[in-house]
Structure formats: structure tokens, C-alpha cells
């Protein structure tokens, strides 16, 4: 780098630039926070939905599946699984039956553990996945397969 460009200038760009963009980021976060309620429909987060998220976390579902595209890439996306499996016409029943039937024990196939969830936990998980499927995700995923 040329000698005209001094270390002090580089340092000032670092401090000034970083500070400016950190403040901009915080500003955008404030704006996002005010826009989110309309997109996440938080009024629908019932205690049951909250419990469902807890079940989701306690069993480390994210260790195999993705949820809104984030997580492991070993098992199907579940952000829209409620819709994929029938929505209000049987989506919940399908999910519950699926979880109860695991593991498939089909030789050589990927296996999902049996988590021994109670009926209450299953219902809660379904409620959580239903709520998740209703988040405004800017039209993602591209199709129902996730």
C-alpha cells in the first residue's frame, strides 16, 4: 500500500466504518422488530405452541432436520411439513403417527430415533409446526417438498 495511506487513516476507517455500520445494523434491527409481529403472527403463540418449541429443542430435532432452512441437512425440511402432510386436513395426525412409528428399522436407511413423546407433547409439537408453517417467509421454500 502507498505511503500516503497511513496507519492512522486505516485505523480511523476501522473505527469509524465499524461504528457506522454497527449503528446502521441496530437501526435496521429496530425497524425489523416493529415489522415482525405482522409476519410471525405472534398472537398465535399459545402456551401449547411454546411447549412444542420446547419439545423440538429438548430432542435436538435440529440435529437432523432443517427448520426454515437452518439446521442439519440429513432429514427433511420441517418448516412446511404441516402443509406438506395435509395441512388442516390430516397434517397433524400424519406427523404424530410418523413420530410414533420411528425408527423404521429398514436396513441401510436413515433412522429417526424413538423419542417416546407423550400425547400432550405430540400435540404441542404439531401446534408448533403448524404455527411455524404460517410464518411469512417471503415465499420460501420454492415448493412444498421443502
Amino acid at each position: 500500500m502507498s505511503d500516503k495511506f497511513t496507519k492512522a487513516m486505516a485505523r480511523n476507517i476501522f473505527y469509524g466504518g465499524s461504528l457506522f455500520f454497527i449503528l446502521l445494523f441496530i437501526g435496521l434491527t429496530v425497524d425489523t422488530s416493529s415489522a415482525l409481529p405482522k409476519r410471525d403472527h405472534r398472537e398465535n403463540i399459545t402456551p401449547q405452541v411454546a411447549m412444542g418449541k420446547d419439545v423440538w429443542e429438548k430432542n435436538d430435532c435440529i440435529g437432523c432436520h432443517t427448520l426454515l432452512g437452518e439446521g442439519a441437512y440429513y432429514a427433511p425440511e420441517l418448516g412446511n411439513v404441516y402443509q406438506r402432510r395435509g395441512g388442516d386436513q390430516g397434517g397433524g395426525a400424519f406427523i404424530k403417527a410418523w413420530i410414533k412409528a420411528q425408527p423404521s428399522k429398514a436396513p441401510g436407511r436413515r433412522q429417526m430415533p424413538q423419542f417416546n413423546l407423550t400425547e400432550e407433547e405430540l400435540e404441542a409439537l404439531v401446534a408448533f409446526l403448524k404455527w411455524t408453517s404460517e410464518i411469512n417467509t417471503a415465499d420460501w421454500p420454492p415448493n412444498i417438498e421443502g
Partner: protein, 466 residues
């Protein structure tokens, strides 16, 4: 080694390497589970093995960063470490906390682990990379505070070089951003939004400051180039890192419920994120070309140049590949992400830790400036084996990802996830094969430490060119 207290870096480096071996073993297990689905099931389910793989990576890198700090901060500050004893105690605590946590993952079902560690008091578990029990997280915070105190006091009483100040900013940032791991609202969108404040602002933010500081230290030592020049580069690189990377967080906000304007902010700024990595490559090669001494430790120079190149490829190029919103719409959460993750972590963080270990270990072991010629050859073989393997792992995962996107996302008649997985199986086999070669490289790396420094010719001190 100029200060006796720098010696405390050694146990950190040894633990780091041991955990690195564990990380790769579990990587091979989950790689195998991709092709033989019921491999080791139900003893080690995929989610458990993956958690061990990723958590070990994070923890051994933290050990590496801490070891690097204990080594370079006293030398930069030109004073002994504030408290070597505290550093030793924290090393033991962190090893025990980490070890018990990994055993917890492996020995009991995750839900049981959540139960017995009192997750319901403050639920923080079950989120990617932040799977540690809340108690472990608190332990990490305590270790980090003790560490920052020790490093901070050392810097305070000594010379305040740019390398030390940038490193300290990075380490403080690391600790501060980790606090967001304790925020876990029931609202998934908010949870995800702030989860990225830990994950993204670590690896594409404050960790890059740590990377920059360690790299600058090594370059000063091995090239003998004027510190002023290197520090100027360091400032401008980390300036570009934060200028692009902070708003660049937006590339994670496209599809998780945040407003659509993030597609613009995220695309524009993260498209600029390769710039600091490109500059880092130019700078590393420039400094080595302008070197004023021939440092006898060739592997250290190789790792330093390697980290610049591989970070640019992995974080820069492979990041750019899928960061623009219209592309990411199709690639989000596919093997493309996995491909990028592997090369970026290896290039930016694995290699910088191996670089400082390579530079510091001979000195810590009283072998003057470098290992014997023979040991160096082994280490450089391990460099090429591991680096070429990770390139192939990345290429195979990229191929799998492109095919996956095509069959499952772009097609007019999209296949289901599992059908698609069957179609790309060949690439998972090839990836596992490349992983095996990586493991061989790692064994070669381990062997290089046990090769005696027989002849003294290679271990003589630095030779000045001019």
C-alpha cells in the same frame, strides 16, 4: 519463547489437537451415516454425532484461540502473563466442562441431558451449535471472563501493540456475542434472528479480528517486515470485515420471517464480504515476498499463506456462490451450505490455529526456532493431505448440492427430500472417501510432533536476508 509464562499456551494447544482428532472421527461417523443410514444406530444417532462433530470444532478452536493469546500477548506486550496459574486452572476447568458435556451427549438421550442439567430453568438447548446445556454455557462464560481478565491485565501493564488491541477486541466481542445464546424466546423468528448474532457475528465478525491478529503476529515473526506496514494492512482488513460483515448478517434473514428488505441489504453487503479475504491473501503473499529474513520454520509460513488462500476460497468464493437472495432462494439449507461451511471453517479458523501452533510449538518445546527438517516435511505433507482433502470434500458436497437443488427445488416435478438424497448418494460416498484421506493427513500431522529434532542444522535461529 521470550517469556516463561508463554509456556502455558502449550497445554491449550495439546487439548486443541486432541479435540480436533475427536472432531474428525465423528465427522467420519456422520459422513458414513449419510451413505449407510443405520450405521451405529441406535447407539449414536446422527443428531448426537453431528452435535459432537460441530461442538468439538468450536471448542477446539476456542482452545486454539486461547493458546494463541497466551502465547502472543506476553510477547507483544513485552511482559510476563498476569497470572499463568489462572491460565492453567481455566485450562483444566474448560477441559473438564467440555469433556463432561461431550460425554453427556454420548451417554444419555439429549432430552434426559436437558432434564438433569435443569434446562427448564433457563432453556437454551437444542439450537444448532448452541446445544450445550445451560450449565455448560455458564461455564464457558466464566472461563471466558477469567481468560479476558488475564489477557486484559497483561495488555494493560505492557506495550499496547495493534496486534494485541485487535486480538483483545476480537476476544471481548466473542464473549459479548456469546451472551445472546442465553436469549431463547418462544417466538422462533426472534430466536433465529438473535441466534445469528452469536453464529454469524462470531464467524463473519469478531473471529475474523482474532484471525487477523494471529496472522499479523505470525507474519511479523516469520517475515521480519516492518510492523507498521503489517499493522496498516491489519486495520484495513478488519475494517472491511466489519463494514461488510455486520450488515452482511442480513443474508441469514431472507427466509426466516424477517422483512423482505433484508434481501437487498444482505445481498449487497455479503457480496462484498470476499473483499477482506481477498485483501488478506494479497497481503500475506506480499509480506512473505518482501521478507527480510528466512525463517527456518517453513510449515508455519505454509500454514499462514494457506489460511489466507483457503479462507478466501471457502469463506469468500464459496460464500459468494450462494449469498445473493435470488440464488439463495434455491440453495438455502442444502448441501451447498454444508460445502461452504466445511471449507470456510477449515480455511479461516482451523488453519490459523494450526499456523500458530506450528509457529509456537517448536519454541514452546525448546527446539529453538523450528523443528528438524524431517519433522517439517511430515508436517507439510499433512498440510497438503488435509487441505486437498477439504477441497475435494467441498467439491463433492457442492456437486451434491447442485443436483439436490435441481431435483428438489428447481424441477417442475420436484422430488421429495429423501428421494433426492438417494440420487446424490455417489457424491456422499466420494465425500466420505475424501474424509478418510483427511484423517490420514491428520495422523501424519500428529506423527510430525513425535519426530525427534535429531540434527540441529534446521533448528538454528532465523537467518536475516539483508
Amino acid at each position: 519463547m521470550q517469556y516463561s509464562s508463554q509456556a502455558v499456551a502449550k497445554p491449550y494447544f495439546i487439548v486443541a489437537i486432541a479435540l480436533f482428532v475427536g472432531q474428525i472421527l465423528f465427522g467420519l461417523i456422520i459422513g458414513m451415516q449419510y451413505v449407510i443410514g443405520d450405521f451405529l444406530f441406535p447407539a449414536i444417532p446422527f443428531n448426537v454425532a453431528r452435535m459432537v462433530h460441530t461442538n468439538l470444532l468450536i471448542v477446539w478452536l476456542l482452545f486454539g484461540f486461547m493458546g494463541a493469546s497466551y502465547y502472543l500477548v506476553p510477547e507483544e506486550a513485552e511482559t510476563e502473563l498476569h497470572s499463568p496459574k489462572l491460565a492453567w486452572i481455566l485450562c483444566i476447568i474448560f477441559t473438564v466442562v467440555g469433556g463432561v458435556t461431550i460425554l453427556g451427549y454420548l451417554l444419555v438421550p439429549y432430552a434426559t441431558l436437558a432434564e438433569i442439567t435443569g434446562n427448564h430453568f433457563l432453556p437454551t438447548m437444542g439450537r444448532e451449535f448452541l446445544e450445550q446445556p445451560t450449565m455448560t454455557k455458564i461455564g464457558i462464560v466464566i472461563v471466558a471472563l477469567g481468560f479476558l481478565y488475564n489477557i486484559g491485565m497483561t495488555i494493560l501493564k505492557g506495550r499496547k501493540t495493534v496486534v494485541n488491541m485487535v486480538l483483545l477486541m476480537g476476544l471481548v466481542g466473542l464473549a459479548v456475542m456469546f451472551l445472546f445464546s442465553f436469549y431463547n424466546p418462544s417466538n422462533l423468528v426472534l430466536d433465529k434472528y438473535y441466534w445469528w448474532w452469536v453464529v454469524h457475528l462470531w464467524v463473519e465478525g469478531v473471529w475474523e479480528l482474532i484471525l487477523g491478529a494471529i496472522l499479523a503476529f505470525i507474519l511479523i515473526k516469520v517475515t521480519g517486515v516492518d510492523r507498521e506496514i503489517i499493522e496498516k494492512w491489519l486495520y484495513i482488513i478488519i475494517a472491511m470485515t466489519l463494514i461488510t460483515g455486520v450488515i452482511g448478517t442480513g443474508h441469514h434473514y431472507y427466509w426466516i420471517g424477517a422483512p423482505e428488505y433484508w434481501q437487498i441489504w444482505g445481498s449487497v453487503f455479503s457480496a462484498l464480504e470476499p473483499i477482506p479475504f481477498f485483501m488478506m491473501t494479497v497481503y500475506a503473499f506480499n509480506m512473505v515476498n518482501q521478507r527480510r529474513r528466512e525463517h527456518p520454520n517453513k510449515p508455519a509460513v505454509l500454514w499462514a499463506l494457506g489460511t489466507a488462500v483457503m479462507a478466501f476460497l471457502g469463506a469468500g468464493v464459496w460464500g459468494f456462490l450462494h449469498t445473493l437472495a435470488p440464488v439463495n432462494y434455491y440453495t438455502h439449507g442444502t448441501q451447498i451450505t454444508a460445502a461452504h461451511g466445511h471449507m470456510a471453517f477449515y480455511g479461516a479458523y482451523v488453519m490459523i490455529v494450526l499456523a500458530i501452533i506450528s509457529y509456537a510449538m517448536p519454541l514452546l518445546r525448546g527446539r529453538a526456532a523450528a523443528n528438524s527438517e524431517k519433522a517439517q516435511v511430515w508436517e507439510m505433507w499433512s498440510f497438503w493431505l488435509m487441505t486437498i482433502s477439504i477441497i475435494f470434500i467441498t467439491l463433492f458436497l457442492t456437486a451434491a448440492g447442485i443436483l439436490q437443488v435441481w431435483l428438489q427445488r428447481v424441477s417442475d416435478t420436484p422430488m421429495s427430500f429423501m428421494q433426492t438424497q438417494d440420487q446424490v448418494m455417489i457424491f456422499y460416498w466420494l465425500r466420505e472417501l475424501a474424509g478418510g484421506v483427511f484423517f490420514i493427513g491428520l495422523i501424519v500431522y500428529l506423527i510430525s510432533f513425535f519426530i525427534e529434532s535429531g540434527d540441529s542444522s534446521a533448528t538454528t535461529a532465523t537467518v536475516d536476508v539483508k
